[in-house]
Symmetry: C2
Subunit: 207 residues, 2 copies
């Protein structure tokens, strides 16, 4: 089929990666045309701003020209387009438990990106150690929770697992001194196992 959807895309955005992994897992890659963009909060992309006033990616343009964002809304949309088992449970306790785990993974990403901005984008004399520490503590508490929930996380490769895998992949990509595998061996084993999936292999950011 010809691509009727356009995804505003960067190969290093972990939020975009969640969408790409879902497209791989649900066999919908051919439905989406990737449109590469580059941006930061200080150097936004005029083209992205035009389609998503929040200036963020991923944003997904539909055939009628309308645009969906952010990553959670896009995941919800794309998960209803395929005929397979939903990657976001449609109802019952599983729905909110898996969405809560996915939300925790997003919180790791949000904190990691604030750390990245603080230590990379911000002028050196304006960096604030306590802020970085607060965000790193948040990441650490979340990883400790994923460690306790490793068996549950591993029950299926769905929205929760996609979120956690993309969050861990981003930590390895951008906060390379974190050494989380030492403290969280069960999580490390899970991540090593799911890391063999072609959806994660094909979407890993290049170091």
């Amino acid at each position: 089929m010809s691509a009727s959807l356009t995804l505003f895309y960067s190969p290093t955005s972990p939020y975009v990666r969640k969408v790409m992994v879902l497209l791989h897992e649900t066999g919908q890659l051919d439905a989406v045309r990737l449109h590469g963009v580059t941006l930061t909060p200080l150097n936004p992309s005029a083209e992205v701003n035009e389609h998503n006033p929040a200036g963020k990616i991923p944003a997904l343009q539909l055939a009628d020209g309308s645009v969906l964002h952010d990553s959670r809304v896009i995941l919800d949309y794309l998960d209803q387009l395929h005929g397979g088992e939903p990657l976001i449970p449609r109802e019952g306790a599983a729905r909110w438990r898996r969405l809560t785990l996915a939300s925790l993974a997003d919180a790791v990403l949000d904190a990691a990106i604030l750390v990245r901005y603080e230590t990379f984008l911000r002028p050196e004399d304006k960096r604030w150690d306590d802020w970085v520490l607060g965000q790193c503590n948040k990441i650490d508490r979340a990883l400790a929770h994923f460690e306790k929930s490793a068996d549950e996380l591993g029950q299926r490769f769905d929205v929760a697992a996609i979120g956690a895998a993309c969050a861990l992949g981003y930590l390895d990509f951008r906060i390379t001194d974190l050494n989380w595998r030492r403290d969280y061996p069960k999580l490390a084993a899970w991540y090593s196992s799911v890391g063999q999936r072609s959806s994660l292999q094909a979407t890993a950011p290049a170091p």
Copy 2:
């Protein structure tokens, strides 16, 4: 009925307010016990951390002890508990359009809270004007989009309208020099109109 749900709560959190407004609108206030907490990214609440490792509110504890977060997941859960018209459309184009508008409102909140942290929490000598400007530009673009979409926003008081109203309420509460009503008169008229609803009156943060 006796309250079987516990909401970790602050009267000044706009993310908590979204949940409170939905509880008002759907007649579910009695189902939830409010548990007040105080926190910032630098001074987290140990009690909140125990229930939500991301250290954020709202978090909603269910009768079985499990905890849901963040605000979007809680809204999704609570909207399936009542028997009235859903405030989050369950399917079709309306679902993703209204969730995209709600996501844009969350982006306004996220940016406004980063501005608040930068100008209130961070030591003065470590503040970075370009960062504040980048976040304010994001807010401005989003408000311009809501201005263009004011008629659409006003079609019903649902997840999109709740998000937009709580975002505008937070701007009035914390970024008092923004003067957004001058530039966005249709949005101001809409906000003035929905501001009469008891759900918004009862949940407005005290100045």
